[in-house]
Amino acid sequence: MPAFATEDRRRWMGVLAKAAPDEIATVWSSLAPTPDYALLRRPETGLVMVRGRIGGDGAPFNLGEMTVTRCSVRLAGGLVGHAWVAGRRTDHAERAAVLDALMQAPARRPAVEAAIAHLDSLQAARSDRAAREAAATRVDFFTMVRGEN
């Protein structure tokens, strides 16, 4: 029985995937001690077919592919980490896989969790800024009625 819920892992893997590569690099350089790990599956770039839905709410259809890099690692202690990350940055995928494994190690988790919370807050700040820039362009159209004063 793993010491974490699937929903938690889903969340942190998503934050790691959506982080900018240089943000992951910053987290990586702050890790102490440097984790000892082996590559189970070397970083590999391929394609995932992005699906949409007909009409937005109907049956799926294939919109087009996106580049994705995956990687799997095993820590010296045996814990296995995976990463699936949009784009072609192999360093991003490899580091995200190691961080995924560290999140499963009770001794390492608190520090990594704090780093992931920071990545999450950076993403939230970017989203909030974009959403407020969009909100500044909200408009009310008036329907003009002829002959009215």
């Binding site: 995937a17 959506k18 391929g46 009409g55 709410d57 799997s72 699936w84 909100a135």
Partner: protein, 369 residues
């Protein structure tokens, strides 16, 4: 028929060197970086990703640079590159209702819940050349509202759908667990055959040439078709892509992409089975590709003529005509192959013309001339 020729290696090599020199242009002018193309020619990158059918801004920017800005050539380069990569699988269907909205408008509903959000648009500009851009400078920063736009904005079908005035997609009323069913058709794996399902039609149109779809959509508005459309909703923003890797057994978010979605709504008089209602045409593209998404939605609706019992007499309603000619990589290849040496072909036709002329009496020829 094209018959292979030999020779010309030196000339071809030199021609490519010349092309590379011309592509670089004056060496005194700084070279373009991929980041500059991705950041400052973003809509070109979006078009190349959509029609090249690969979402990767850096690769698309490289293709634009390599093709000297020839976007159809760039699409070809991206399509060629994708064949070198393995396919890991298909994503969960993206949820455009949960899109982080950057633009969202409706020409049909003034008071759409969530409001009309113009976002970064060329609409309402005067299309006057802006000479301040010819000089370098920093634009005024974008305005920031106190409150962000709503996290969830209902789509147009959700607004009118409850009254039955607008058609719902079949699955919208049932459980939306479509991934459990068989995967949608994929024309990169199976050659297109007719009649094609709407899933394959939409995939084809999403990859299709913007100019071709735009002209077809325009033709349907001008009378070569029977659409009476409203732009029910256009939305652009970021959606999260989820993928379920085998080793995990659950879906994880792998990244965020920008997409543009268009819902055209069209009047429909009804049939013996269906009451009068609005029907929908659908467009979806990578990036900010609004013109493409709108054209795609009009063409999608036009191609439903048969399904809705309408007369299909115009080019835009002819599935085979539209889908077989929409791809600019195929079209460009077939048109441009005419440049390759056809010397043997031409020689045989020349002989034929000579024989025909020899067989025709001279008097007739003089009369004809």
């Amino acid at each position: 028929m094209y018959v292979a020729v030999k020779g010309g290696e030196k000339a071809i090599d030199n021609a490519h060197r010349l092309m590379a020199e011309e592509r670089r242009g004056d060496p005194a002018v700084p070279e373009l970086g991929l980041d500059q193309i991705a950041e400052q020619l973003g809509l070109a990158v979006d078009r190349v990703m959509t029609e090249g059918s690969v979402h990767d801004r850096e690769l698309a920017a490289l293709a634009v640079k390599q093709a000297q800005g020839d976007l159809v050539e760039a699409v070809f380069l991206l399509r060629a590159y994708r064949t070198t990569l393995p396919r890991f699988g298909g994503s969960e269907p993206i949820d455009t209702a949960a899109m982080a909205i950057r633009r969202r408008i409706s020409s049909a509903f003034k008071d759409l819940p969530g409001g009309q959000v113009l976002g970064p648009t060329y609409d309402y500009t005067h299309r006057l050349l802006d000479f301040t851009l010819a000089a370098e400078g920093t634009p005024e920063p974008a305005a920031l509202a106190e409150q962000p736009v709503e996290a969830q904005m209902p789509r147009v079908a959700d607004v009118l759908g409850h009254e039955g005035l607008i058609e719902r997609s079949v699955e919208a009323d049932g459980p939306a667990n479509a991934t459990a069913e068989e995967p949608p058709g994929d024309l990169t794996r199976q050659p297109l055959s007719f009649p094609a399902g709407r899933d394959l039609r939409l995939q084809n149109l999403a990859r299709g040439d913007e100019g071709f779809l735009l002209a077809l959509a325009y033709s349907s508005q001008r009378g070569y078709g029977n659409t009476h459309p409203f732009a029910g909703e256009i939305r652009m923003g970021d959606v999260t892509v989820e993928f379920a890797p085998e080793e995990l057994g659950f879906a994880v978010e792998i990244g965020t992409i920008t997409v543009t979605e268009c819902q055209m709504i069209n009047q429909f008089k009804g049939s013996k089975d269906v009451p009068p209602q609005f029907t929908r045409g659908y467009g979806l593209t990578f990036g900010q590709s609004e013109r493409k998404a709108m054209a795609m939605a009009l063409v999608d609706r036009s191609l439903r003529a048969g399904e809705l019992g309408e007369d299909a007499v115009n080019p835009v309603q002819d599935e085979e005509f539209v889908l077989a000619h929409s791809d600019n990589v195929e079209a460009s290849g077939f048109v441009q192959h005419l440049k390759l040496p056809h010397y043997v072909d031409f020689q045989s036709e020349l002989e034929l013309i000579r024989r025909l002329r020899a067989a025709t009496p001279t008097a007739d020829r003089e009369t004809a001339e």
